[in-house]
């Protein structure tokens, strides 16, 4: 199983980062929604720290992912739905990447604006990104919330798109190998 991406297949590292991030994004999004509705208590306050820790890990993962894709470029999309849909899919991917970077950064900044530290794994305190400010805290936390909901919507579209394709795109992201029915990626 090759670690690096090839011209027609995803390597193990790209696929591992993709699926781990998928689990992390869905997990921390659900956690974010849960803690918004939770009756707080001393027994569940640790969930806030967990949400922050997962968010920071996801931020590190997406930066690592971009670095890895620079070092080992991903294969081109399979050419089965025409140029228009391929262009749309590419733009959706870039919006997803932008959100994966922006949402944890805004959450980190929002937490700093409330005067509360972001502590990763209960051990490492991150420096505040912005000074404490009530106005900034309210604005950043609201932005964090709405962008997270927008990303969940985009993830749903992304999943629907992957499931609707019959060209082996999903199989390639799971197994790495190109689909035998459609082995030729489109040109970028």
């Amino acid at each position: 199983m090759p670690l690096r991406n090839g011209p027609r297949e995803f390597g193990a590292i790209s696929r591992a980062i993709h699926w781990l991030m998928a689990v992390g994004i869905l997990g921390t999004s659900v956690l974010g929604i849960v803690i918004l509705r939770l009756t707080p208590s001393l027994s569940n306050i640790w969930l806030y720290g967990l949400h922050k820790t997962i968010g920071i890990v996801l931020l590190a993962a997406v930066l690592l992912r971009l670095l890895w894709h620079w070092a080992s470029p991903t294969p081109a999309p399979l050419d089965s739905h025409g140029a228009g849909r391929a262009r749309l899919a590419r733009r959706a991917h870039w919006v997803l990447y932008a959100l994966m970077i922006a949402i944890p950064l805004i959450g980190w900044a929002g937490s700093a604006a409330t005067g509360i530290d972001v502590i990763v794994f209960g051990r490492w305190t991150l420096p505040p990104l912005v000074p404490a400010s009530a106005t900034a805290a309210k604005g950043l936390m609201a932005l964090h919330h709405w962008l997270a909901l927008a990303m969940l919507g985009l993830v749903a579209v992304h999943v629907a798109g992957a499931l609707s394709r019959r060209d082996g795109t999903l199989r390639r992201m799971i197994l790495g190998r190109p689909s035998p029915e459609n082995p030729n990626p489109t040109s970028r």
Binding site: T39, L42, G115, I116, A134
Partner: protein
């Protein structure tokens, strides 16, 4: 509801063993054993070591409890006339603590006390009335720059180890409740209750 005994600051615990003295009735007894010439307004200043403020707020089914150091207390007590009594207390809000770090940072942060811009909480009395064995102290409290009237329950005690009848070193306890939204300190309102119960313990020594 007061904090659970194991959560109370040291000053509160030691208070239980202090000898209670009254502002109204008991002050009269105190002054009866003191020299008549001293039955005039007496000025007291804070002894910081034994002084603190306990506070408590609802946090779901739990409580947030903590302390805020008393940085200044200036009292004029007239043991013959409550109307002449004056109380001024300043708290060091920037040094507030809580029973878990998240709460302490939230308390000091811009959504609640905003201690970067308003490091102090101030109380200045406007009137003192007798109430049972103690007194009610009307006054104004200033939190994050907003001043509102408040009435505190007051009791006066002789400090442990002082001689019976001595008025040189006393301990004053002030209790009350504030609604934090009245001071624009309403951050985290979905998590933390609006009522904050405060319990000020101040050791005071007669000035010079």
């Amino acid at each position: 509801m007061p904090p659970a005994p194991h959560q109370r600051p040291r000053a509160l615990r030691t208070l239980a063993s202090a000898l209670p003295i009254v502002l109204a009735a008991t002050l009269a007894a105190l002054t009866a054993t003191a020299e008549p010439a001293r039955a005039i307004p007496r000025h007291y200043l804070l002894e910081t070591a034994g002084s603190s403020v306990g506070y408590e707020a609802d946090f779901g089914k739990d409580k947030i409890v903590g302390t805020i150091p008393v940085s200044m207390a200036n009292l004029t007590l007239d043991f013959a006339s409550l109307a002449n009594c004056r109380v001024q207390v300043v708290l060091d809000a920037a040094a507030a603590t809580a029973n878990f770090p998240f709460a302490a940072q939230a308390l000091r942060g811009p959504l609640v006390l905003d201690t970067a811009r308003h490091p102090d909480i101030r109380f200045v009395s406007t009137a003192v009335h007798p109430k049972g064995d103690g007194a009610l102290i009307d006054g104004n409290i200033t939190i994050r720059g907003v001043t509102r009237p408040i009435t505190l329950d007051a009791a006066l005690y002789r400090q442990r180890g002082t001689a019976k009848g001595s008025l040189d070193r006393l301990q004053i306890r002030l209790k009350g409740t504030i609604q934090r939204d009245a001071f624009n300190a309403d951050g985290w309102s979905s998590m933390v209750g609006n009522d904050v119960r405060i319990d000020i313990i101040a050791d005071i020594r007669e000035q010079g």
